[in-house]
Structures are given as C-alpha cells and as structure tokens.
C-alpha cells in the first residue's frame, strides 16, 4: 500500500490520471487512516500551551492568514465594502495589526470588493462552481468561474462534486477540477472538499490527492454551509496529504481550514497543527489560510489583552 507513494516518485503523474481505473487504483492504494489514531494525534496537539510571546506571534500569524468571509444570500455591496475596510485595517485604533490575507465572497460581488480594496495586497477570493452544493452542469461551473475571474478575482474557491466522489466516479471529479482550473486561468484555485460530506478520513485523503493531482493550488476543508465544517483531525489528514504530495512530486499545495473556527484558541490549535505536521514552509498566508468571519474580532481582543494585560469588551471592536 505504502509503496504506491514510493512508486509515484518514478511514475509520471499522467499515468496515474490517465484512466478512471488507474486513478481509482492509485487512490485506493494510498495508506489508510486509522480514525482513532488520527483523532488522538489531533487531540494531543490541541493540548499545546501557547503563551506570552508565542501567543503574540501566533495571533498576528493567524490574522494574516484569514480569508475574511461573507457568503450570505443577503450580502450587499455595502456589506462587502465594510468587510474590505475591516480586512485592510482590522483594528482602526492600532496600526500594528496586520491585514488579513483575502476577502472571500460570491462572484457577483467581486467587482465591488476589487474596487474597495484598490491597490492593497489583499486578495479577492470568489467562491464558484455552483457553490455550495456544486450541483450544476460543468458548463455552468466553468462560466461561473470565468465570470469571477473576469470581474477580477485573484483566487477561486471551487467545490467538488461530492455526489460523484461518493459514487466512485473519481474520473468525473478529476475532469471537473481540471476544467475549472483551466477556466480559472491564472487565478489561484482552491478546491473545497466539503469533508463533512465525505464521511471517512480515508475519503478525505483520497479527495485531497485527487484535487492535487488535478492541479488544485490549494485544498480547502469546507464550504462552511454544513456541519461539521473544519475539524482538527480532517485538517491533519489534509496537511499530511500536501506534505506527502510535495515529497512525491516537488509541488507545494496550500491548505485552507474553513468554517467553525471562531476563537483565538481554535485558531492557535490549527497553527500548532501546521507547525508540527508540515512546519515553517506552510506557516505563511500563501500556504495556509483560515476561512472565518467572527474569528477576527476574537483575535483582536486577545491581541489587545496580551499587549496591555486588559481585556476590553466586544464594543471596542468594529462589527462589520
């Protein structure tokens, strides 16, 4: 089983992805994940105690990794502009707070966000491909992607077809990712696995490899629309996958944990997971992201507390 990974070193990726059969053989040949063991490892790392200077470093790192997100039917241009202002200057009273990595929105609001962000380094990430269910034709998914990119999206967050994946039609999922990647052109492609619907860690590992083999620049846990969204064990499995993929192919793929990460404590646990699974190479906004909205204010409150020793109330931070 494990030898499949070793075989990959010599094999050309195109051989693995040539046919549905070869793809299935590869994905089902990946080493299994023991659920109890994976969860125990994630729980063990969650007991790390990150204090004082380490906490300050971690908070700033976490802020700089946030994809500040609003994905609601009720989103308006005004709401998105407010989000963009918050993204650039999370704490108006403190210039030393870093800006977030990106704002994450629906495709029709990309132009508004791009406008609001102007020349800042903050990326505009757009969900696409009939987000969040992904239940539409490939043509529509591609067009959705092209629209987002044409409006100026720097990053595209696509969803995989979970129905096809669970039915074992790996080739179809693979082809869709390839097609969306093509439609996304130069935009950075994040592939949402929606791990809450994949049921097993073995499936999470397979879907991660599938997305990477198909050319995804990043793999992302969840849409945030179903429970459970990101969890520590799922993120651990995905981090192991990007680590092994780089070992085998030399290409580094990013990871985004999205949904359900609300507190500083949660965010720090994800950073510890990254730190001790894949290390410094991924401890960077280019390679690890936290998809969140309410998390940012908790990070700001904790940041102020570590700096001043005092904990001010939520009214001292902007709600956007």
């Amino acid at each position: 089983m494990v030898t499949v990974l070793e075989a990959l070193e010599g094999a050309r990726l195109s051989e693995i992805t040539a046919t549905e059969t070869s793809l299935r053989r590869f994905l089902h040949g990946l080493p299994g994940v023991d659920q109890v063991g994976a969860e125990a490892r994630a729980a063990g790392l969650a007991t790390r105690s990150i204090k004082t200077t380490a906490k300050q470093t971690a908070i700033d790192l976490a802020i700089s990794m946030i994809d500040l997100t609003t994905l609601e039917g009720q989103d308006t241009p005004g709401k998105v502009r407010a989000l963009c202002a918050k993204a650039q200057r999370p704490d108006p009273s403190d210039q030393s707070v870093p800006h977030v990595a990106a704002v994450c929105i629906y495709p029709d609001l990309v132009a508004t966000a791009k406008n609001a962000l102007g020349n800042s380094e903050i990326k505009v990430a757009s969900v696409a491909t009939a987000f969040p269910s992904g239940r539409s034709s490939l043509a529509i998914k591609q067009q959705d992607t092209r629209d987002a990119v044409a409006a100026g999206a720097d990053e595209v967050d696509m969803v995989i077809d979970r129905g096809a994946f669970l039915a074992g039609r790996y080739g179809q999922v693979f082809d869709e990712i390839v097609a969306v990647k093509e439609a996304a052109s130069d935009a950075h492609l994040k592939v949402i696995l929606e791990t809450g619907e994949l049921a097993t860690y073995d499936n999470v590992r397979r879907a991660s490899w599938l997305a990477m083999l198909a050319g995804g620049d990043s793999i992302k846990t969840s849409t945030g629309k179903i429970t459970p969204a990101a969890t520590l064990p799922v993120t651990l499995i995905m981090l192991e996958a990007v680590r092994d993929f780089r070992d085998a192919t030399g290409r580094q793929v990013g990871v985004k944990a999205a949904g359900g990460i609300r507190t500083t404590k949660d965010a720090i646990r994800y950073l510890v997971l990254v730190n001790e699974t894949v290390g410094d190479d991924w401890l960077d906004p280019d390679w690890f992201r936290l998809g969140a909205s309410s998390l940012l204010n908790d990070l700001l409150m904790q940041r102020q507390k570590t700096a001043t020793g005092r904990y001010s109330g939520p009214d001292y931070f902007t709600l956007d």
Partner: protein, 480 residues
C-alpha cells in the same frame, strides 16, 4: 529560528507543599522510624534534593504489618463491601480534586512530563479507584463463588516509573476485596505515595488499612519475607521478581509478579502509516521509555521500512525534550543517575555490536539526568539491544519479510508482556493476536490502559493479572 517558537509554559509548583522530611505512614499516622535511616529523594530534572525520607528497617516493617493485621482483624474484615466501597469512592474523588497537586508532585519527583502526569497518570489513578470501588459490594457476583474471602494482609512493592499509578493498581483492588496493605514505593519516587497517605487520612480511612513504608531493596525484602504477610504483589525488574519467587517458595503466600518486557511493535505493509508512526513514538518514548510494556522492538515489514523510517525520523525531530513541568514537553528526565548509566551502557553496546545509532538534534539541559530519543537501525535478534530491556527512550528497529516471520521474531524473547500490531486488515490482527505470546496485544494503538482491562505477562514478564475482574481475583482466596 522557527516561525512559531513555543514560549516556556511551566506549570506552577506553588500548588505542592513538599515537607523537608517525611516519616513512615503506619497505623494511620506518620511516625519516625525505629531502626530506619534517612535518605534523600531528588528531582531528576535538576538534581535538587526534594526531601529527606525514612528508609524503614525490619522493625518498622514489622510494625507496619502488625498495624495492617490489626486493622484487618478489627475493622476492615468486619465492614460490609458497601462500606469499603464508600471509602474507595471517597479516595477516588479526593484524587480528582487534588489531581493538579498530584500531577505536579509526580513530575517533580519522577521527571515525567506534566502533560503525561496530568493527562494519563492521575486520571487513570482516579479511574482505578472508581472502578474497584464499584466491585467492593459485588464480590459475590464476580464469578469467584458465592462468598469469596480476602487473603488478609497484602505486602506490595512498586516501581518508580508510574509511582502513583502502580500504587493505584495495587491498593485499589486489594482494599475492594477486603485486604489491608503495606506498600513500599520505590526509593527514587516516594513522594506521591506519601501524599496519598495524606489523602487516606483526609478520607477518614480506618487507621492501618493502608500503611506506607519507604525505603530501598532491603525494606522491600523485609516486607516480602515478613511471615505475617499473606499476599505479595510486586511490579519491577525480572531479577528482583525471581528473588521474590524464591523467597516465598514453600510458604502459603500468594503472589503476583509484573516484571520486565521487550515488546515487539509490528508494522505490516498495509498499516495506516501516519498513525503507526504516532504509535511507535507513543510506544517507546512515552514516559521516557520507562515502561515495562514499552514497544522497544520495532518490527517493520521490509517493503515499507525505508518509508516508515523516513517518516519516523521526521516526526522525532518535533519531539520536545526538557523541563518536565513545561506543558509542551514531550520527553522529560531519566529517573535516576543509575538508570541513565544503564541506558548509556546498553546504547554503547548497541553501537559496538554494529547497529546504527541515530538521535534527532536536541539540546539537553546541563543539570539533571537526560538522554535523547534514540533509534537503532540494522538491529538483529542476536544484538543485546534486541534482547535486554533498556527501560529508556531507545528503539531497536528490525525488519521482517512475512507476517509469520514477524510472529516468530516477536515471540523469540524471554519476555511476553505486550505487543502491537499495525495493519488495516482486521483478519490479520486477529490471526496475529492469537499467535503472539504476550499478555496484552494492542491493535493499531499502543500503551493504552484501562482499569477494566487485565494486564500481565507471559514467561519472564511475570504471572498473575492486574486490572479488571482478573485483578480483583488476585486478592481473593481460591480465585486466582
């Protein structure tokens, strides 16, 4: 410098009061020894002297056994199981209430990381007392006959690797079954047993039901050989276990021995590889490898050996060695200078015999007793490091070609305490578990303990079982 360096996160030691000197706990109170001499217990992480402790002489031991006998005759044997259970439940609750104090003291005296004393040792200690408290009023329904009787006075000698947990393994079932006890903790780790004595006072346990005599081997010998001891329970080295077996031969004393081990941790080619790496780490580096059931021999299928070793070495580089009280420490101090010398000696033998030695880069503190996590590859069955118990953070790696060869190698040892099997295939787990001559076989995990599960060895790893219903039987007449 790494992007995310963990700042020191030391657990406060303010919660623990360590007295400058301790007497013996006999008949419900701390008394000065009659013929004992004081000795010092040190913090192995700093070599700082923690306290003067009394080594009980033969007269002291005799006094303790008499106190236990009195308590047995007058009080404990007359109490109902329900009332004995009440005391045990009370002790269990106090252990939970004082868990932080116990964990900190255990880490200071033993050198183990606070993460383990806090998350493993002390919770298991409480769990053992809760579990056996539940049995106290149900002995008639435990399958040992309608009205099983206790032995009387139990003499118990425990090791330094899990001082409080081994105390719980010994005292909880003994008391639940209706025995009274005299317990001797190891000479390098007496402090949590003495704190436990305080907990017995706090729980209003009748005087003499639990007696604690500190000291070294001579004290242990006096206890084991005392004519009025009915039952001996020992956990420790195979060598001392043999002496005990000899000394009680021909007497009516009952005995359980839990001795050394050289467990095989077998990784097959279809193992869940990332979890297997964690299991190997937990198997040998948990508690600095001071674990009798440690997975000290890694048997890995040749076809995946290179990949597994690459992953294992990468993982070992993230282990954090240092201050046991730091909440982020993975590997603490070696318990004593004596143990450190033995680990060093066997590691040097390993090198001299031609095995390849590797340790991740790690800075060890200047003071105290430290040994880096160490892996030997290219080890064969003929090497001493594959046969002798090192009892330290040292892993010997051997390879095999077929599952049958793995079983053969795993069983080819004088010991038989534990073993581990890593594979995604359930049928292989069952097949292998049936072939392995070891008291515990873990499947896709390692070093997992539970009060409901019996634990004990084959061959030179000892006899009798502790834990579960089996462990209860060891303290009842005609049951074990």
């Amino acid at each position: 410098m790494a992007k995310l360096e963990y700042a020191p996160a030391p657990e406060s030691r303010a919660i623990v009061d360590i007295a400058s000197s301790y007497g013996l706990f006999i008949g419900g109170e701390f008394v000065d020894p009659d013929d004992g001499t004081p000795f010092k217990t040190v913090n192995p992480a700093t070599e700082e002297v923690l306290a003067d402790v009394s080594a009980a002489g033969p007269q002291d031991v005799d006094k303790a056994v008499q106190a236990a006998r009195r308590a047995y005759n007058r009080v404990w044997s007359k109490l109902s199981g329900r009332d004995r259970g009440k005391y045990l439940f009370r002790i269990a609750r106090i252990i939970q209430e004082r868990s932080r104090e116990l964990a900190v003291l255990e880490s200071i005296d033993n050198g183990k990381p606070i993460r383990e004393s806090r998350d493993v040792d002390v919770p298991l200690v409480a769990a053992h007392f809760f579990y056996y408290a539940g049995w106290a009023d149900k002995l008639s329904y435990a399958g040992f006959g309608p009205d099983p009787k206790p032995h009387g006075v139990a003499g118990q000698v425990i090791p330094w690797n899990f001082p409080l947990l081994m105390l719980a393994w010994k005292i909880a079932p003994a008391l639940a079954a209706g025995n009274t006890v005299v317990l001797k903790p190891a000479e390098t780790t007496p402090l949590t047993a003495l704190l436990f004595a305080e907990i017995c006072q706090q729980a209003d346990l009748p005087a003499g039901v639990v007696n604690i005599v500190t000291g070294a081997g001579e004290t242990g010998r006096a206890l084991v050989e005392h004519p009025d001891v009915d039952k001996v329970a020992f956990t420790g080295s195979t060598e001392v276990g043999r002496q005990i077996a000899r000394s009680i031969a021909g007497t009516p004393k009952k005995v359980t021995l839990e001795l050394g081990g050289k467990a095989a941790n077998i990784v097959l080619d279809d193992a869940p590889i990332d979890q297997a790496v964690e299991g190997i780490v937990n198997g040998i580096f948990f508690n600095q490898g001071h674990v009798c059931c440690a997975g000290s021999r890694l048997l890995v299928q040749e076809s995946v050996a290179d990949e597994l070793m690459t992953r294992l070495k990468r993982r070992l580089k993230t282990l954090r060695v240092g201050d046991p009280l730091d909440k982020n420490t993975d590997i603490g101090a070696i318990n004593s200078a004596e143990q450190l010398a033995r680990i060093r000696e066997l590691s040097e033998v390993g090198e001299a015999e031609g095995a390849e030695r590797w340790s991740p880069p790690c800075e060890l503190p200047d003071r105290g007793f430290w040994f880096p996590p160490t892996v030997f590859t290219g080890v064969s069955q003929a090497h001493r490091i594959a046969r002798e118990e090192i009892f330290g953070p040292v892993l010997s790696v051997l390879t095999f070609r077929t599952p049958a060869e793995a079983v053969e190698k795993a069983n080819n040892t004088p010991y038989g305490l534990s073993a581990g099997v890593w594979t995604d295939k359930g049928s292989r787990i069952l097949w292998m578990a049936q072939q392995l001559r070891a008291g515990v076989v873990w499947a896709n995990t390692f070093n997992r303990f539970d009060p409901t599960s019996p634990f004990g060895g084959y061959k030179e790893s000892g006899y009798g079982r502790e834990g579960g219903r089996h462990g209860l039987g060891a303290y009842l007449k005609g049951a074990a």
